[in-house]
Amino acid sequence: MFVIKRLLFVLLVVWSASTITFFIPRISDINPIRERFAELARLGGFSAGELEKIVESYSKAFGLDKPLMQQYFDYIGGVMTLDFGVSLNKFPKTVLMLIAESLPWTIGLILVTTILSFVIGNLVGALAAWPLSPKWVRGVSTSFILFQGVPPVLLAILLIFFVAFKLNILPIAGAYSIGTVPDFTFEFLLDVARHQILPGIALIFGSLGTWVLSMRGMGITIQGEDYVIFAEHKGLSSYTIFKDYYLRNALLPQVTALALALGNVITSAIVVETIFGLPGLGFVLITAIRSNDFLVIYGIVLFITIAVAVLMALVELLYPLLDPRVRQGQE
């Protein structure tokens, strides 16, 4: 029952998002195809007469000459099969192809940084609140909260300036060094890894502080709970109490928070990626915006929306495994 509800919700999100991305470009008077080719024409390539012809044939190819409702149903149908249309700029490449080429970079970065930031942040926050932590551990871990005020973008710029530019120990930008041939050799993978360090640090430390702060607050509440105190009365070791009685319970709301934070995670990743010139989704998106490649722009926006909705549903579906109280509520 719960699963079906979640799936219906995902479908609803996909439908409303695609409806919005369908209508927004069509509300305005500007014909992006004409804009695109008018620009090319200004650069000198073909005459005004030719322009009209090209626009007409392209509009036909994109189905823009069909009635609006027909276009709408085609569009929604396309979205359901992940067909977001073709790129104007890189025709005949489809939007899906562009996404597929760039997605591994983005996913790799997001997956690693989100997991690391969540794990480190929550562990540090839990230690900051744990009364049995040594004083210095509590001091150090509490100071991590300072990162809470620093957005990943600012961190990215600072890292580029100081670490890459001034100290020159890590590459400034790019996914791999210019001149290397992408290949699955050890040297190449190492080169790629070196290029991921700074963007990774920017993303991890940009979101770490929030986890530390919220986990510390949660930890202070949980350590006063009767079941933690009873665990002490039972004579359990502080390690067992920390792990199974304190941390496990304090983590529950954090997992919910993670589901809610996914939208932010992806947005930050895309911005940081662009700053570091990594060939991920963000880079494709910026290129598309610069060249007015509207199907790509809306395709990517839509794709991200769907991805966030699906991931949130996944986290919520996994949550009952952690909390037996929710499990029972669903049965």
């Binding site: 079941y227 105190i229 039972k234 004579g235 029972q328």
Partner: protein, 320 residues
Amino acid sequence: MEHLLDITGLTVSYYTDIGRAIALNQVDLRLKQGEKLGLVGESGSGKSTMGLAMMRMIKPPGKVEGGSVVIGGVDMLQLSDKEMLKRRLSTISYIPQGAMNSLNPVLKIKRQMIDAYRAHYPDHKLDQIMDLAHEAMRSVELPEHVLEMHPHELSGGMKQRVCIAIGILLRPQIIIADEPTSALDVVTQRQVIETLNRVQQKIGSALILIGHDMGLMAQSMDKVAVMYAGEIVEINDVQTVFTSPKHPYTQALISSLPRLQNRGEFRGIPGMAPSLYRLPSGCRFHPRCNQQQPQCQTTSPRKSVFEDEKYVTCHLYEAT
């Protein structure tokens, strides 16, 4: 070494912004093996503090400032932290106030019992532990499938029984049950107390039952200790407390009980309980006492000890 438990001069204070609250002041208490003591007193009089101090579980802002808690010849307050950890649950166990929330919501009951057991006997085999878990469940009259359940699936009375089952798992010499019935309905209260009595008898440990309900105390305890503002003002056997209480506070408590069989929860007596931060001089009870003596406002009364570790702290009984 006649006494199983020998508490002498136990003193605990809480330090807060308002100042120092002496929650336990020079408290003495002795118990024999298998003896059952009811610890009564208004809320805030220091009953839980007493139990927690025996477990060495007083936490900041609280501080144990003096005295000794000797169990079987060993002073709990002198043990290393590690040794004390081993004594908890195995020598002395405390079933906390608020059993409703004393079980970890994400772990099965079984797991919480195994954890308790393993903390003391890491080498024991699982099926050996499960046998003992089953036995503990039988002692508190819970069906064995409760072991496979999570706390939220249990009623209040069942959770209380699970806490008792955990408390007796290692057959401690002393069981402290802190207001085990306060959140339960009347019928369940009786049943839980009966269970507690039965398991106490079975394993032969001493029992300290903290509570308000004089009726429950009368029914099943051997002795009653009355606390007032951080001191035990009277310890007596249960009949004496009900038929001829000595201390004016005990007398007021007993006469405030509903007439019928002198049973039920006491409703409080005229006047206000003093703040522990600003205690009256002399006898702490004097502002509410109806038998005040001239020296009561200035001099603290000493203990007048009767036979069998019974005593009363009041000028009326001091031999001059």
